[in-house]
Subunit: 226 residues, 2 copies
Amino acid sequence: MFERLDAPLLGRIAAITSLVEVVPGVELCRQGAIPDRLHILLDGQVTLSGTASDGTSAVVEVVHPAAHFVLAAVLTELPYLMSAHADSRSRLLLLDAAALRALLEQAPPLALALMRAEAQDFRAMVRQVRDLKLRSAAQRLGCYLLALVTDPTAQAAELRLPFDKGLLAARLGCRQENLSRAFATLRAFGVETHGARVLLHDVARLRAFAVPDELTDPLTVTANCI
Amino acid sequence: MFERLDAPLLGRIAAITSLVEVVPGVELCRQGAIPDRLHILLDGQVTLSGTASDGTSAVVEVVHPAAHFVLAAVLTELPYLMSAHADSRSRLLLLDAAALRALLEQAPPLALALMRAEAQDFRAMVRQVRDLKLRSAAQRLGCYLLALVTDPTAQAAELRLPFDKGLLAARLGCRQENLSRAFATLRAFGVETHGARVLLHDVARLRAFAVPDELTDPLTVTANCI
């Protein structure tokens, strides 16, 4: 996010930043609260979820390092739309929100950097909306598994699910029983599972079924957030 | 979007802006293309949709005046994730993308204004993701109808759907037959329809069923885009 900034500006950002380590389960942001800091995840895993007023809750995103959250709330000074919880022991940078807003009024390159970061965030959410509207749960799972394949020319692949199936179901927007059904559907497309270990025997066939997006952004938060 | 900017800066923006009028069906942006201008809709209606590589298409957003689209692509110089089509005769401002990017490097207040606009766009998409993951089609329809009620204290209301049911189904992320089923479900919660005319006989009951979000942003693009 800050890679194009010069050393003096990075120094000013460092001066408003602190490093924290948290244990699993810690709440980092609470939906409805006014944001007081921007979070950058260095190590660990964080879940962003939204809760309706009847108490039902949806996982909007699972954040992996290095990625920020929830920039939009910090920049607008509007209440968090999501709560954030550490899923594992995590290390984070916390940037004071008011100081950050003051700094970006004085430092146009920072404003441009944050603007680019925000645009990436927006695009990641547009992808999710498209995904939820266009694809079945089995196709969404297929796209998710294909995104874990690092070699773009691979015909087969072996992967480990980076988190448990309960969280995966929530991230994909389906119930856990639907996730099991989705894995069962994908068996016909060469997907074999042993717990968290997944074998893709025929990447081309899975791709033809799941129809992943061709438009992926280079090196974005999308690559870090599933 | 530009309300906090001073007159000289507005003049510089005007110098890179043109006004166009388009007829229904005109394509304003094409998914995959590199953006060459920012669009601001003054009159009419525009649909933003994403198409998968197998040709299936999803309506991500329906844009009403005055709202911009697709700012994130313009700022990042990354390909449009969505195509935009005019649904009706529409009037738009077109801001040259390269000139806008050059201008915001020189004019920090413009960068801040666009940053706020982007943050609102992001939050509108987060709401959609939450909506799609948390709610049934009938609940999503209920939330949509409740959002059309302008008087927050109303116990009953009469509304007109701002566009046809085909587009409404697409925007809500369901098939047209599911939308009919959703309207049928809502009958038990006091929703009566006569074509585009909708009567809500019991707003409180509908609210209890559909569970709309409490966190709405003040005067944002969300208020313009359903």
